[in-house]
């Protein structure tokens, strides 16, 4: 079968004729992206010295630092990059966006809500960042009006639209274990006759933050396990090479590789008419794999100075080894902070206090135990519910704090009753079929703002499960969690404190915040 995109079924996946592999859910997305209006963008830079405009011809240095409220974030690339003509910086589709639009070096290769708001001000909402397809609450809304872009402007959220029912890698519908009802639809997009669940191309819209593009040797590392410990099924494989993949790319792990992710991003976010060529994909992936980022300075402290803790700064990530399990006391997730436990002779009192606070925060992250409970795809995979463990149990992968295994877990950030009140987001009622196994802790009827992995797997057990993301460069890319529900690093700590009834003291909270801000 050859479809509108010139896509041919080749057994385990789609392949565009003479082109790259396109996983099964993408053609439906691309079809909607082709329907969404494209308006002429005005990508003026304005007074925005660190913003890289799509199509700009600049020389991006191999090493750079960009200021943020907590100091500065460091950026490393494999070499100097001339952005002119480079596919990462070039609009590949119709709407004027490039990859760099949402993955800016100054924002730890994501885009912060602060930057989003600045771009709105500087361009009167005409920046391609605000493209109707997913930079507005719904393409059917009047574009250019602030209210139509409120989810992006207020919460840093882009619309992610996925076919429902989901599609397997070969494009066949996945038989879901649950039915979806739209309870609330403030964006209007889930009930929209053109873009919604009951349209001719049925699509569910959820709203998520863009994940940072960097430190990717860690993100793409594949646990050499035969069976996925979350699903109990065989691990996914790269449709091009047949090699096992890590299943940690994207918040629902829907794309197996950086190449397939780039295909989806081009056809959907950039509204390209055709998928990038294999050569373009290779250039994109090569560039992305060369990028490392991390906070490199605090307000008073250089994190990359000689004698600094060994995991800090982007060079530490460039030199690190992926796939090291760090939930231990002998080779820990973020190595050690011993250098900052005692006062250095020349340090001011305030510098010493900050360093010691960060070191204490690292101890809390690694060692402070609490009851972790009712978290599907963690407690439900054989560990028991609850377990008495620490933050590092889930955030166990050395250098990034991701999960070494496929990392989707229902931490409760998108599901009621644990999700924060988010009246701006859609609310769905998911009812599990009688023959299906229920969500392990929420039962057969679940209310959620984002079904997460369940939109891909169709499993009740996966409702609300979001793939853990890396913890680096946080100071440059607020807000946090996949739905932007934590506006600050403090809010991240507070969420977990409430969710798991940890009972951090004021000092412990401050220590954890300082620790996270330094990563």
């Amino acid at each position: 079968m050859v479809g509108a995109l010139g896509i041919t079924v080749i057994g385990c996946a789609y392949r565009q004729t003479n082109g790259p592999v396109v996983p099964g859910h993408v053609p439906s997305q691309a079809e909607q992206a082709r329907v969404a209006p494209v308006e002429a963008a005005q990508d003026t830079v304005g007074n925005d010295p660190h913003w890289i405009k799509p199509g700009a011809a600049i020389t991006l240095p191999a090493s750079a630092e960009y200021p943020n409220a907590n100091g500065s974030v460091g950026f490393l690339a494999a070499g100097v990059t001339e952005t002119a003509g480079h596919p990462f910086f070039t609009p590949l589709g119709e709407n004027g966006r490039a990859c760099v639009t949402c993955h800016q070096p100054s924002d730890a290769m994501s885009v912060s809500v602060e930057t989003v708001q600045r771009r709105w001000r500087l361009t009167n909402g005409r920046d391609s960042l605000f493209a109707a397809v997913d930079g507005s609450n719904c393409p059917s809304l009047p574009q250019g009006e602030r209210a139509s872009h409120s989810l992006l402007l207020d919460h840093g959220l882009f619309r992610i639209f996925l076919p429902w029912p989901g599609r397997s890698a070969d494009g066949k519908p996945v038989e879901p274990e649950f039915d979806i009802e739209v309870v609330r639809d403030p964006s209007g997009c889930n009930l929209d006759p053109v873009y919604g669940l009951k349209s001719a191309n049925p699509m569910i819209s959820v709203f998520r933050r863009p994940r940072p593009v960097g430190n990717l040797k860690y993100v793409t590392w594949a646990l050499p396990a035969l069976v996925n410990i979350k699903s109990g099924l065989l691990m996914d494989r790269d449709p091009e090479t047949g090699q096992q993949v890590g299943q940690n790319i994207m918040s629902d792990s829907r794309q197996p590789t950086l190449r397939t992710q780039a295909v989806e991003a081009s056809l959907v976010h950039l509204q390209a008419r055709t998928a990038p060529s294999r050569e373009t994909l290779s250039r994109l992936v090569e560039f992305q794999l060369g990028i490392y980022f991390a906070q490199s300075r605090g307000k008073q402290v250089n994190y990359t100075a000689p004698g600094a803790p060994p995991a800090l700064g982007p060079a530490a990530l460039a030199g690190g080894k992926p796939g090291v399990l760090g939930d231990n006391l002998y080779n820990s997730v973020f190595l050690d902070f011993d250098a900052w436990r005692t006062k250095a002779p020349k340090d001011k009192k305030s510098v010493t206090a900050f360093k010691q606070s960060v070191a204490r925060g690292s101890d809390l992250f690694l060692k402070r135990t609490f009851w972790i409970r009712d978290s599907a795809n963690l407690n439900s995979i054989g560990l028991g519910n609850p377990i008495k463990r620490s933050c590092a149990t889930c955030h166990n992968s050395q250098m990034t704090g991701m999960d070494n295994g496929p990392g989707w877990i229902d931490l409760g950030t998108t599901t009621q009753p644990t999700a924060p009140d988010m009246p701006h987001l859609p609310l769905f009622k998911l009812t599990c079929h009688a023959k299906a196994r229920p969500h392990p802790y929420l039962g057969r009827v679940v209310f959620t703002h984002d079904p997460g992995r369940a939109l891909i797997s169709g499993k009740c057990a996966d409702i609300g499960s979001i793939t853990l993301q890396q913890m680096r460069g946080l100071s440059a890319r607020a807000p946090y969690f996949s739905n932007g529900s934590a506006k600050t690093i403090e809010a991240i700590v507070d969420y977990y404190d409430t969710r798991y009834k940890i009972g951090y003291t004021k000092q412990e909270r401050r220590d954890l915040v300082n620790f996270l801000s330094a990563l």
Binding site: G232, L234, S332, K367, W371, N385, I387
Partner: protein, 255 residues
């Protein structure tokens, strides 16, 4: 549909014939409770006695703990030994998490001075490198027909770390012996309780067998060499070692 085949004159399993050497067989479904010891202990009561089930471990362990918000099927032998963590230990214990959510099962009890028995891993981060998992040497001739038996918890087709290792061994043996035929038989079992026999999900036998088949193929066994079968033995539950029937057998035949 399944599932409880009521028995008119069931002997109470808990009062069944007491074998002096092997202990009293126990099989019941109840809420688990977790004790807030430094390393959490898991317990459950059949209404007459509190049993010690095991301690929190990790996925490499033999014992996978129960889950609050779920009832648990406990099977084993009461040997009458000294209490552990405030509960009577069970020999040959098997613990299965029942799939449906039971909100009433939500109790964490205080440590009350009890201590968990030593374990390879405590709460929090691990403190030392774990010992490498012992593995069998590569298969070597002479090869004979052989059956590998993979156990499961009740109503589950999920493969545990240790059972995946069994499948690795089975695949290695099949490949090394150039077996022309592997028969994978998934079983649906039952468990005899005081209230009657509780049978597993109707399609559990095929779910188990198909998953094992997929893994064997991923391990290099030729798909055409594998025959998949299912068997329903749920009616044979006796209340003693019923867990042995919850399994997949992989019979490796010789040329």
């Amino acid at each position: 549909m399944r599932r409880v085949a009521a028995s008119l004159a069931l002997l109470s399993v808990s009062t069944a014939a007491y074998a002096q050497d092997s202990g009293r067989p126990v099989a019941f479904i109840a809420c688990p409770v977790v004790r807030d010891t430094a390393l959490p202990c898991w317990l459950s009561s059949d209404g007459r006695k509190l049993y010690f089930l095991g301690v929190q471990q990790d996925l490499a362990a033999e014992f996978y703990p129960p889950q609050l918000k779920h009832r648990v099927l406990v099977e084993g032998y009461d040997m009458g030994g000294p209490d552990i963590c405030g509960g009577t230990p069970l020999r040959d214990i098997r613990v299965s998490v029942m799939p449906e959510v039971s909100p009433e099962c939500d109790e964490i009890i205080p440590a009350q001075g009890f201590q968990a028995p030593p374990a390879l891993r405590g709460a929090g981060p691990s403190e030392r490198h774990g010992p490498p998992a012992p593995r069998d040497p590569p298969p070597a001739p002479p090869f004979v027909e052989k059956t590998y038996s993979v156990p499961y918890p009740f109503d589950s087709e999920r493969l545990r770390n240790r059972t995946i290792n069994q499948l690795r061994d089975a695949a290695a043996y099949a490949i090394a012996s150039r077996s022309p035929r592997l028969t994978v038989t998934g079983y649906r079992a039952g468990v005899r309780l005081e209230s009657g026999v509780l049978a597993e999900l109707e399609d559990i036998a095929s779910l188990r067998a198909e998953k094992v088949r997929d893994v064997l193929i991923a391990l290099g066994v030729a798909p055409e060499a594998i025959t998949v079968r299912t068997a329903d033995v749920s009616h044979t539950a006796t209340g003693e070692q019923d867990w042995r029937q919850r399994r997949v057998d992989i019979r490796i035949e010789m040329p």
